[in-house]
Symmetry: C2
Subunit: 134 residues, 2 copies
């Protein structure tokens, strides 16, 4: 069912500083920061030859990553995103196997403009898993 | 400097159960478990089209992931590994920029038989970063 690793998302308190670490210290290709008001985060994409790293900084009062950063003040890996061909078929298959879908279980349009879902970390080795329709 | 994302490593308490989640629930290609006594972990590799997920289970009394699992009893993402062409050149460049190398700063032979180093999470957004010579 799962295909490519679309991205690894790293939550950070200061996305300008984190971007500079990836650009200047690690020598990676780093995008500009883009505020994503609908998602409560500012994003930066780091393009690697085979996948992406997504830096996330909280945006606004109800950012979905605020609680994570309170627990992890240095930042940390927030989630991993796997691609699927058909997100509804994937969701239904996962539900049939007892996996829990976060929220209301309906795909939302994610930061890349594609339908996404999040799976319950307790069902996946303590790892928050995002599925994105490729 | 950094190249491909070689793998994302997920620490788990029960690698048989975690393997089954990836195989049966997520439909991925999952290797057999391999005890790596020199590294204090048992490993399973999940092959995705563009990279790998590495499951790690503690092996022996002094496993390097035991403390992480005590803090994260459900498991969680332990580190990410980026490839570099020349690990000594990468190390020296990173040290020159003030980044801290863990341990004695000398590359060790990692679970894939290639030289690896780990970088201090506090210098990289709370993320433990492994560098592997490609």
């Amino acid at each position: 069912m799962i295909g490519r690793l679309n991205h690894v998302a790293i939550a950070v308190r200061d996305i300008a500083k984190a971007s500079e670490t990836y650009r200047a210290t690690l020598g990676a290709e780093v995008s500009d920061a883009v505020p994503q008001h609908a998602h409560g985060v500012t994003t930066v994409f780091i393009t690697l030859p085979n996948t992406k790293i997504e830096l996330l900084e909280p945006l606004g009062a109800d950012s979905p990553i605020e609680k994570f950063l309170q627990k992890n003040p240095d930042g940390g890996i927030h989630h991993i995103c796997y691609e699927v061909d058909d997100i509804i078929a994937a969701r239904d298959a996962l539900k049939g196997k007892g996996a829990r879908i976060l929220g209301d279980g309906e795909p939302k349009i994610g930061a890349h403009g594609k339908p996404v879902l999040f799976l319950h970390p307790k069902d996946f080795n303590g790892t928050l898993v995002e599925l994105e329709q490729a």
